[in-house]
C-alpha cells in the first residue's frame, strides 16, 4: 500500500512538473500572479516571490538557453549589414 502511494506521488509530481515545464512562460507567470493574489493574506505569501521567479525561468528546448543567452552556440548571430 505504501509502495503504491509512493509511486502515485512520484507519477503525479512528474506529471505536474512536465505540465509546468511545457507551459509557455507568459501563462506560467499569469498563473503565478493569480496564486500570489489568492495567497496574499495567508502565510503562503512568503513563497510567492520564489514561485514567480520559477515561473519566469524559460524552459523549452535546450532548457531555454536561447532565451537566456546561455547556450554556448545559442545566440550565434551574424551582425551583418
Amino acid at each position: 500500500m505504501l509502495e503504491e502511494l509512493l509511486i502515485g506521488l512520484i507519477v503525479v509530481t512528474a506529471a505536474l512538473y512536465s505540465l509546468w515545464y511545457l507551459t509557455p512562460v507568459s501563462e506560467r507567470l499569469r498563473l503565478a500572479q493569480a496564486i500570489a493574489k489568492r495567497c496574499s493574506q495567508t502565510r503562503a505569501s512568503a513563497l510567492t516571490p520564489a514561485l514567480q521567479r520559477a515561473a519566469a525561468q524559460p524552459t523549452g528546448a535546450c532548457a531555454g538557453c536561447g532565451a537566456r543567452g546561455k547556450c554556448p552556440v545559442g545566440q550565434s548571430l551574424g551582425k551583418a549589414s
Binding site: 509512493l6 512536465s18 543567452g69 546561455k70 547556450c71 554556448p72 548571430l77 551574424g78 551582425k79
Partner: protein, 626 residues
C-alpha cells in the same frame, strides 16, 4: 538613480556598449563572473543581459551588457535595444548612470564613430580599450593619455580574457562621481553633415593618438586567401564538417563505454537491492533504462560542440558565411541567414531568435521556416542510436568511418531539404532584392581554452539539466502509461500490450504502418514532441518493460534484432524532417506574432517527413532491406 539592493547597499548602474565583436561579453563575464556566450564574431548578444560586479574597493555595480551596435541609428531589432536602453526609452529599464564604451583597440578607426556619437548624449562615460594586449602584440601604439584628453573621458586599457584584465576599468569607475538620477535623453538621427564631421574627427583623433606598424605582417590575409577561395574554401569547409562528424563517432567510443558500464552497474545494483514490485520496475525500467539510454550519448554531444565552439572562437564561421553568401542568394536566402541557420544546429530556438538581425521580413520569414531543418543537437542521440544499431563499424576506403559518414549524410539531408524549401519559398512567398552580405571579419586566433571549456561545461550542464528534469519526468509518465492498467487475469500477451501506452501505440500505428513504424515507435514519437531525445529514452523504457532488465545499455542490439533495416532508415528520414519539438513552434509563434506560420511550419514539416519516410521505407523494402 542608484539601485537599492535587497540588503540595502546601493549599487551603481553601468552599461557596456560598443561595436559588435569588440569583446563586450567577455568583459561582462570577467566583471560579473557570468558565463554568457562569447564568440569570435559579431552579434553574439541580441538581448540585454544583467549581472553584478564588485570593485576591489568594495563598490557594487549592476552591469548591463548590451547588443553590439555600429550606430545609435538602429538598423535592426538588437541595435534598437541598445539605443533604447541608453536613451532611457525602455519601459522599466532605468537609464544607466555611466556608460562604458568598449572598443576593439586593434580597430579604433571603426569603433570611434560610435564613441563620438554616444559621447554627444552627455552621460558620464568611460572608454575601455579592449584587446589592448592584442594591439600591443601587433605593434599598435595608442597614446592613452592623449586619447583621454581629446575625448574628454577616462580611457583605460582592458583585456577581457585575462583574470585581472578589468581591474583598470573598475578603478576608473570607482573614481567617477555619480548623479543620483538621470533624466531620459533626447536624441535625433544624425544628419549627413554630422556623419561627415564625425568621420573627420575620427581621422583627427587617430592621427594624434594611434601609431600602427608600417608593414602589415598579419597572417589573416594569407589564410583568408585560401580559406575564402571559391573552390579551395568550399573544399576546406566540407572537409572540416566531415572531420567533425567522423570525430563524433570515432572519439566517443571510450567514454560511451564507461557511461554504459556505470549505467549497467547501477541497474543491476538497484535490481538486486529492491524486491520485485512496482518501485523496482519504476526505478529500473522507467528511470534507469530511460535516462541511461540518453545519457550515453553525452560524449558525442560534447565532441560535436567542442568542434563548433573551436570554429567559432577561431573566427572561421563568419568566413564560411561569406563563402556561402552567393549560393544562399541563389536559393532565395539572405547572406544574413547563415549564422542563424548555423545556430540552429545547436537548437532551432536560438536560431529562430537570431533571425532578428535580418531586416527584410520575407528573408527573415524564410529563414525562420527552414531553421528546424538544420539538425539540432537533440536529434543526435536518435541518429547515434540507429546508426550504432544498423550501420556496421567499418572503414570506407581504409580511411573513413562508415558510421560517421552516415551521420554526415543525415546532416546533409537536412541542409538539402532546407535549400529546397527556401527555393520553393522564393518562388511562392517571394523575397526582396538580394543584399550582398557585409560583415566585419574577426581576426584569426587560436581558440581560447577557457572560453572553450566554459562553453562545453555549459553544454554539459544544459544536457544534464534536461536529462534530470524534463526527460526524467516524461520517462516516469511513460513508465506509468506503459505499466497501468495491469493485464487482466489470464492474459497471454505482454503486459505492456494491455497498458494505456500499448493501447495508444496500437491505435495510432495504422497511420504509420505505410512508413514501417511499429507501435513501440509510435509511443516514443509522442513524448518526443516535448524534447526529441526523449524518443530514445521512451524506447528504452518500452523495451525494458517488454524485454526485461538492462535495456539501457542494450537498446541498440535489441532494436537491431527487432526492426528491419527499412524501418530504421524510415525513422532516420522521419527525424531529419519532422517538427518533433513543440517549443520551436511556440518560439515561431512569438517571433512572428501569428499562429499562421507555426501551423504552416508544422504542416509542411510533417508532410515532408511522412513523404521522405514513405519513399525511404518503400525503396528500402524493394531493395530487400525489409
Amino acid at each position: 538613480m542608484t539601485a537599492a539592493t535587497l540588503d540595502g547597499v546601493a549599487e551603481r548602474r553601468i552599461a557596456l556598449l560598443g561595436n559588435p565583436n569588440c569583446g563586450k561579453t567577455a568583459l561582462f563575464n570577467l566583471l560579473t563572473g557570468s558565463r554568457q556566450k562569447v564568440a569570435n564574431y559579431a552579434g553574439v548578444t541580441v538581448e540585454r543581459k544583467e549581472g553584478a560586479a564588485t570593485s576591489p574597493a568594495g563598490t557594487r555595480y549592476r552591469v548591463l551588457d548590451l547588443p553590439g551596435a555600429y550606430s545609435l541609428n538602429a538598423d535592426s531589432a538588437d541595435e534598437a535595444v541598445t539605443r533604447d536602453v541608453i536613451l532611457g526609452r525602455l519601459d522599466g529599464e532605468p537609464l544607466p548612470q555611466v556608460l562604458v564604451c568598449v572598443t576593439d583597440a586593434t580597430n579604433l578607426r571603426l569603433n570611434l564613430r560610435l564613441v563620438l556619437e554616444v559621447k554627444r548624449l552627455g552621460l558620464p562615460m568611460v572608454l575601455a580599450l579592449n584587446m589592448s594586449d592584442l594591439a600591443k602584440r601587433r605593434g599598435i601604439e595608442i597614446d592613452v593619455a592623449r586619447l583621454s584628453e581629446l575625448l574628454g573621458v577616462p580611457v583605460v586599457p582592458t583585456v577581457g580574457i585575462h583574470r585581472q584584465g578589468a581591474d583598470p576599468l573598475l578603478a576608473a569607475l570607482d573614481a567617477l562621481s555619480y548623479k543620483p538620477s538621470v533624466p531620459a535623453l533626447e536624441w535625433q538621427p544624425p544628419t549627413l553633415a554630422e556623419i561627415t564631421e564625425t568621420h573627420r574627427q575620427v581621422r583627427e583623433i587617430l592621427l594624434q593618438t594611434v601609431r600602427e606598424p608600417a608593414v602589415d605582417t598579419r597572417w589573416d590575409e594569407r589564410i583568408d586567401a585560401v580559406v575564402m577561395h571559391p573552390i579551395a574554401g568550399l573544399a576546406i569547409l566540407a572537409s572540416v564538417l566531415f572531420l567533425m562528424f567522423q570525430a563524433v563517432f570515432a572519439w566517443a567510443e571510450l567514454p560511451m563505454t564507461a557511461i554504459e558500464t556505470a549505467v549497467s552497474w547501477l541497474g543491476q545494483t538497484v535490481s538486486q537491492a529492491l524486491p520485485d514490485g512496482l518501485l523496482r520496475s519504476l526505478l529500473v525500467d522507467g528511470v534507469i533504462a530511460g535516462i541511461g539510454s540518453v545519457l550515453i550519448f553525452l560524449p558525442q554531444i560534447v565532441i560535436l560542440f567542442a568542434f563548433i565552439l573551436a570554429l567559432e572562437d577561431s573566427g572561421y564561421l563568419p568566413r564560411a558565411a561569406f563563402l556561402l553568401d552567393r549560393f544562399m542568394g541563389k536559393v532565395g536566402l539572405s547572406g544574413r541567414s547563415f549564422i542563424p541557420l548555423l545556430s540552429s544546429f545547436a537548437c532551432a530556438i536560438p536560431g529562430i531568435m537570431a533571425t532578428r538581425v535580418i531586416s527584410n521580413w520575407r528573408d527573415r520569414l524564410s529563414t525562420i521556416l527552414i531553421a528546424p531543418l538544420m539538425t539540432c543537437s537533440a536529434r543526435l542521440p536518435v541518429y547515434a542510436l540507429l546508426i550504432g544499431a544498423f550501420v556496421p563499424k567499418q572503414q570506407v576506403a581504409g580511411l573513413f568511418n562508415l558510421q560517421g559518414l552516415v551521420l554526415f549524410v543525415l546532416y546533409l539531408a537536412g541542409i538539402v531539404g532546407a535549400v529546397l524549401v527556401a527555393f520553393v519559398l522564393k518562388r511562392t512567398v517571394g523575397r526582396g532584392m538580394h543584399h550582398p552580405l557585409m560583415m566585419e571579419l574577426p581576426t584569426w586566433r587560436l581558440p581560447n581554452l577557457r572560453n572553450l571549456l566554459l562553453g562545453l561545461l555549459e553544454r554539459v550542464k544544459i544536457f544534464l539539466h534536461r536529462v534530470g528534469g524534463i526527460i526524467l519526468a516524461l520517462m516516469i509518465i511513460v513508465w506509468a502509461l506503459s505499466t497501468f492498467p495491469a493485464p487482466p487475469p489470464g492474459a497471454t500477451g505482454a503486459a505492456i500490450d494491455y497498458s494505456f501506452a500499448g493501447m495508444l501505440g496500437h491505435f495510432i500505428q495504422p497511420l504509420f504502418a505505410p512508413i514501417g513504424f511499429g507501435w513501440e515507435i509510435c509511443i516514443a514519437l509522442i513524448p518526443g514532441m516535448a524534447a526529441r531525445e526523449v524518443a530514445v529514452a521512451a524506447l528504452g523504457t518500452v523495451y525494458s518493460l517488454q524485454a526485461g532488465d538492462d535495456v539501457a545499455t542494450q537498446l541498440a542490439p535489441l532494436i537491431a534484432n527487432q526492426w528491419s533495416l527499412a524501418t530504421a532508415l524510415s525513422l532516420l528520414a522521419w527525424y531529419v524532417y519532422a517538427p518533433q519539438c513543440l517549443s520551436t513552434l511556440a518560439v515561431v509563434k512569438r517571433e512572428t506574432q501569428s499562429w499562421r506560420y507555426p501551423l504552416l511550419m508544422a504542416g509542411y514539416l510533417f508532410a515532408m517527413a511522412y513523404l521522405a519516410s514513405f519513399l525511404t521505407y518503400q525503396i528500402a523494402l524493394r531493395m530487400g532491406a525489409g
